[in-house]
């Protein structure tokens, strides 16, 4: 297993009530697998599953993107800065 740190921003931080999570992922996990585990663990994320953006090592990732060991993961809604 691969224990990863997850940073949460904006709505997602408010929904889960924390800035950081730890999750244990299988060694060959992808972003899709991470999302599945998250929604299973935190059902309140289910409605926003499709709009959750995932950054792996500070780069936008797709559902197929692998999650390397020790990666910095961030979850957030579509950006709204400016």
């Amino acid at each position: 297993m691969n224990r990863i740190q997850i940073l949460l921003f904006a709505t997602l931080r408010d929904t889960l009530g924390t800035r950081r999570l730890q999750l244990d992922l299988p060694a060959e996990a992808t972003v899709a697998g991470l999302k599945d585990l998250l929604v299973a663990t935190y059902p309140q994320l289910s409605p926003s599953r499709n709009s959750i953006m995932v950054a792996v090592n500070q780069e936008y990732a797709g559902d197929d993107s692998p999650i390397p060991s020790g990666a910095e993961i961030a979850l957030f809604p579509p950006v709204s800065g400016g």
Binding site: A55, Y60, P77, V79, G81, G82
Partner: protein
């Protein structure tokens, strides 16, 4: 000579004159600058009033993406000399500037206006910053409608 790229995420009051000086070279004759401010009164879409906005950033990624926006500007408008991109975060009240995009060049017909416009458009697409709107009716996180591709 290296062209200056100034990237910053700050809680401080934005200083347009200082940013402009940082992106002005001996060969610079023109600058186009975009500033966004907190609107107190919004008429477009669902009309509403804003007490303040609360901005937050995923800072290291946001800085990297702001640098990417600057790189994209340079590849599209090679005449651009200096680029400054500054996002203010924290609690910002109506009429307060929240973001600055400054592009300089030798002359004004070199794409500086288009470059500044592109800069703010791209910042709003790919730079991980969010704002929470606080109004007399309550508060909610604003969500953009752009989904970056992997690696974008």
């Amino acid at each position: 000579m290296e062209f200056p790229t100034v990237i910053s995420i700050t809680e401080d009051v934005l200083d347009l004159d200082a940013l402009l000086a940082q992106v002005t070279l001996d060969s610079t004759g023109a600058a186009a600058v975009f500033t966004g401010m907190v609107r107190k009164v919004t008429a477009r879409g669902e009309a509403h009033e804003t007490l303040y906005l609360e901005y937050e950033a995923y800072q290291p990624m946001a800085e990297a993406k702001m640098r990417q926006v600057a790189d994209e500007i340079r590849s599209r408008w090679p005449a651009v000399e200096g680029i400054g991109i500054v996002q203010r975060v924290g609690r910002l009240h109506p009429q307060t500037p929240t973001v600055l995009i400054a592009c300089t060049a030798a002359h004004r017909d070199t794409g500086v206006f288009e470059a500044a416009r592109y800069g703010i458009d791209r910042l709003k697409e790919i730079v991980p910053v969010w704002k929470k709107e606080v109004s007399p009716q309550g508060e909610f996180w604003v969500e953009g409608d752009y989904i970056p591709k992997p690696g974008e």
